[in-house]
């Protein structure tokens, strides 16, 4: 009973975090067709914004949404400065890897300069602890497990049930055709980045509520998000979401039975095996585009 509760809880929690980290990365890839290597830094910046607002005396309920909104603006600006001017160039994917890495590095060092290296913590979404099936858990973690699927569902509904979401899915597939039906390509690109940065900020707030924050806290989540996206398949938004939970449970099972030490090795072994059998990712079709 204890083992089951442990694995179930661990899997759901890690899966939720991974999904939250990966979905923004997947969104930018599926709409604009580039990998945003500053995604981890955006996560960190969102957490620092939240920390600063709380430090200025705002309540968490106010500070978190403001931080998320601010990050939407940051995402938009980032897109307008280091991505949009390059659209249409040869080797766009590689060039944007460099420019987003560079922007991320600038932001990271800016944060280090501004807020210093000392680790910080933001208040949890919900304070307190609870016992669940014989396992002690924090309410913050429970909140993440509950909130994440709601946000992902909202994103899915937006992309699949609204005309603007439809436009966002279309713009990646054929830019000329998108312009000829009257889509504002520039706005849609900005929107994709703004949503992705907001989701990153939210992931940062989740992380900062139970772990100490440092200016480099985004590096590991970015790597995880990349694994999730590659594992789930980069063709859709739902693939990475399922993959995130799958990896979460995989890690929970591995760390329970084989220990934390072996978990990364086993995860990569599973990843390599998956990609050998299905190079496009487990949940993917062959093409790019949200579904």
């Amino acid at each position: 009973m204890n083992a089951l509760a442990d694995i179930l809880f661990g899997g759901l929690f890690q899966g939720s975090l991974y999904a939250m980290m990966a979905v923004g990365l997947a969104l930018v890839w599926t709409t604009i067709g580039v990998f945003n290597f500053s995604h981890g830094v955006l996560m960190m910046l969102g957490a620092y914004f939240a920390w600063q607002l709380v430090d200025w005396g705002l309540t968490a309920a106010l500070a978190f949404p403001i931080a998320v909104l601010l990050m939407a603006g940051v995402g938009w600006v980032l897109q307008a400065t280091v991505v949009r001017p390059l659209i249409g160039r040869a080797n766009l994917v590689l060039v944007v890897v460099i420019t987003t890495l560079a922007a991320g590095s600038l932001i990271e060092n800016g944060v280090l300069e501004l807020w210093g290296p000392r680790s910080k913590q933001i208040p949890p979404l919900v304070a307190g602890n609870a016992m669940l099936g014989g396992v002690g858990v924090s309410l913050h973690q429970i909140a993440i497990i509950v909130v994440t699927p709601i946000i992902l569902l909202a994103l899915w509904l937006f992309l699949n049930r609204t005309r603007l979401g439809l436009a966002l899915r279309a713009v990646a597939q054929n830019e000329d055709a998108a312009r000829l039906v009257g889509l504002n390509v520039t706005m849609l690109y900005g929107l994709a980045f703004a949503i992705a940065a907001s989701l990153a900020a939210l992931a940062g707030i989740f992380l900062g509520g139970y772990r100490f924050m440092t200016p480099v806290m985004g590096a590991d989540p970015l790597l995880k998000a990349l694994i999730v996206v590659v594992f789930g398949g980069i063709s859709s938004i739902s693939g990475p979401i399922f993959a995130a939970y799958l990896i979460g449970f995989f890690e929970a099972i591995c760390s329970y039975y084989f220990g934390l030490y072996w978990t990364p090795a086993l995860l990569f072994a599973a990843l390599i095996l998956t990609l050998m059998i299905k190079p496009e990712g487990i949940f993917a079709s062959r093409s790019r585009g949200l579904a």
Binding site: R163, A170, D176, R179, L180, V181, G182, S285, S287
Partner: protein, 237 residues
């Protein structure tokens, strides 16, 4: 009737290469307009400049009384000037229904969405049968039908068709030609680029022969013209 579209002295190209050298055409006065001429001489470039996909370097484009030179494709669509590009691959992972709903994205087209959808379904019964099918699974002819359908959803005042029957099997080509004639009969003026001279002559008697990025010959309604004359223009005397 006023000219719906006047293009004058239009110069455009890609990078340093100039494709159009001060080209001028008029459309809308005599109904449909046909463009023909050898490949690589600017027909598609002209249409891309007219619909706002390509910024012209010089010249002017006036549509429906307004100067639209250099306007974005988005605002040009919103004026009712709708372009079906050559070999449009559309949105491979969207369904036909999704594409139709994108066609009605422009605010001016929204109020007519339901009516236009019925119109497309009546025009292409084949599509109406598989509204939920993804575009990538369609044949070239079916995709061309979706392309034209999407354009109709944008509620066009003037419709530009760039080689609507290119590379299609004869049977499906006949179907498309009939649909294009139906659209024209319903009162939407067309600008059509087409290699099939028979079809072009059935559709219109106002033609421009485009060569080296310029109008080499304009054939106005009333000018006597035989199939062989056009062949002579293509291939020289």
């Amino acid at each position: 009737m006023m000219n719906m579209l006047s293009v004058t002295g239009l110069t455009a190209g890609y990078g340093r290469v100039t494709v159009l050298h001060g080209i001028g055409i008029e459309a809308g006065k005599h109904g449909n307009v046909g463009l023909f001429g050898p490949n690589g001489h600017g027909k598609t470039t002209l249409l891309r400049a007219v619909s706002g996909l390509l910024k012209p370097k010089a010249g002017s484009i006036v549509f429906d009384g307004a100067d639209i030179t250099g306007e974005s494709a988005r605002s040009i669509v919103a004026r009712g000037l709708v372009h079906v590009p050559q070999g449009n691959t559309l949105f491979p992972d969207l369904t036909i229904a999704d594409c139709m709903s994108l066609g009605a994205f422009s605010p001016h087209a929204r109020p007519h969405e339901a009516a236009n959808k019925e119109r497309v379904a009546a025009l292409f019964p084949k599509l109406a049968e598989r509204w939920r099918q993804r575009v990538r699974t369609l044949s070239g002819g079916e995709r061309q039908m979706v392309s034209i359908g999407v354009a109709l959803m944008s509620h066009p005042k003037l419709l530009i068709l760039d080689e609507p029957t290119l590379g299609l099997a004869p049977k499906i080509k006949d179907e498309l030609c009939k649909a294009v004639l139906d659209i024209s009969k319903a009162g939407v003026p067309l600008i059509v680029v087409e290699q099939d001279v028979e079809f072009l002559l059935e559709l219109t008697n106002h033609l421009y022969f485009i060569n080296h990025g310029q109008v080499e010959t304009e054939i106005k309604p009333g000018d006597s013209l035989a199939h062989s004359d056009i062949m002579a223009m293509y291939f020289g005397q």
